[in-house]
């Protein structure tokens, strides 16, 4: 795993060298409130977070009921990092979890992933 991570860092380096020519610097961390609003949009998007396929979010249209409703997140995950890990790869905590590993498998881009964490943390 560590070896892999190193490889990714190396590859990311290669990209940024190339990207540097074009002065592209992706803004990964949007400002607080903005990130929450954008995170909500991503969470509701069927092609991205698609949280509602399985989770209920109060006030959201036609949610699924496969997984627990997304409420009282701060009491369920006192540490934001724990929530982050849950969305990153839920099988770490529960090997039989049916939840897709949104972070680990790159289902969401890194920037989108962080925004989703910000939004879900507010629920």
């Amino acid at each position: 795993m560590i070896g892999n991570t190193k490889k990714w860092i190396g590859m990311a380096g290669a990209i940024s060298v190339l990207a540097g020519q074009f002065l592209v610097s992706p803004a990964i961390f949007a400002e607080g409130g903005n990130a929450v609003a954008e995170g909500k949009k991503i969470s509701f998007d069927r092609k991205k977070g698609n949280c509602l396929a399985c989770h209920n979010i109060i006030g959201a249209p036609s949610p699924g009921n496969i997984a627990p409703a997304l409420v009282a997140m701060k009491s369920r995950f006192p540490k934001k990092e724990d929530l982050r890990m849950q969305i990153w790869d839920a099988t770490i905590k529960n090997p039989e979890s049916a939840m897709p590993p949104f972070g680990k498998h790159g289902i969401l881009s890194e920037a989108d992933f962080e925004k989703v964490v910000e939004y879900i943390w507010t629920l």
């Binding site: 036609s62 099988t91 049916a98």
Partner: protein, 279 residues
């Protein structure tokens, strides 16, 4: 010497674990599988699972029963009968390959010892065509659905009874590989078949009720409103794999054949009721 001893111990231990992992027989698997649904849906008769999600969804069932009054798959059955009866260029017909036809549904999938592989009905049909100098049919769309509709219709009421012959270890190995496929996570979304159709059967995914795996194989081919036509079981396998963002396998290639072998075995005892109609 000490090392050799350690290696030997390790080998013995891993040996034991492997046997332990494969200790369940197909019969035990079948019982655990069907009991799972009995426990989850105690009011559903086992034979009613042939109706898929409608066995556990009373609202959807009403709509579906209305659709079944004018079955959308009917023209396919007629077309299929014409194909079944039409002589090949050499004058022979499907009947020459399948003397017991057209009601062949209950005979497949089956283990063919001579070929050492699982034989599926569509593959057998294509083998017949090729043996008679005809072009094989495509496996997912087109005329194959006509002839499969006709055969399914003629086979209605036969009982699923897949056998895993014990005189050939290849048969059990094929079953085990299908079972492994069924419980293996794949694709970017990391789902196994079992996550949706066993673990979460009956739950709602957005607006859709996840159908139970028990009975999945009884009603193919299926007219799907989403497809606007009749499609095969392996077309559905392909669709499921794509949905979890895994690269689908070849229709009637080894992986899907073994999967069909396992999945159909899990429905042993259920009557055939194809072709079906689904949303």
């Amino acid at each position: 010497m000490k090392q050799l001893f350690r290696q030997l111990t390790a080998m013995v231990i891993s040996c034991c674990f492997i046997t332990a992992a494969q200790a369940t027989t197909p019969e035990e698997d079948l019982k655990a599988f069907q009991n799972f649904y009995k426990k989850r849906f105690p009011n559903v008769e086992t034979t009613d699972y042939i109706n898929g999600a409608y066995s556990i969804d009373p609202v959807g069932r009403e709509n579906w029963e209305a659709i079944e009054e004018f079955p959308p798959y009917e023209p396919f059955i007629d077309e299929g009968q014409a194909i079944w009866e039409k002589p090949f260029a050499n004058g022979k017909t499907f009947k020459d390959c399948f003397p017991d036809g057209p009601a062949l549904g209950g005979k497949y999938p089956r283990w063919e010892k001579e070929k050492s592989m699982v034989m599926t009905l569509p593959l057998a049909l294509n083998n017949c065509l090729e043996a008679n100098g005809e072009k094989p049919m495509k496996y997912k769309k087109g005329p194959i659905n006509d002839i499969l509709s006709y055969i399914a219709f003629e086979s209605r009421g036969q009982i699923t009874n897949v056998e895993i012959p014990t005189d050939d270890p290849g048969a059990l190995a094929a079953y085990e590989s299908g079972k492994k496929f069924y419980y293996t996570r794949r694709g970017q979304l990391n789902f196994a078949c079992a996550h949706c159709h066993l673990q979460n059967a009956g739950m709602i995914l957005r607006t859709e009720i996840l159908s139970p795996a028990l009975g999945h194989t009884t009603h193919f081919p299926v007219y799907r409103s989403k497809w606007g036509t009749v499609g095969t079981l392996h077309r559905r396998f392909t669709g499921c794999n794509k949905q979890v963002r895994a690269k689908p396998f070849k229709a009637h290639g080894e992986e899907y054949r073994n999967l069909e072998y396992f999945l159909t075995y899990m429905s042993n005892g259920l009557p055939l009721n194809g072709p079906g109609a689904r949303k």
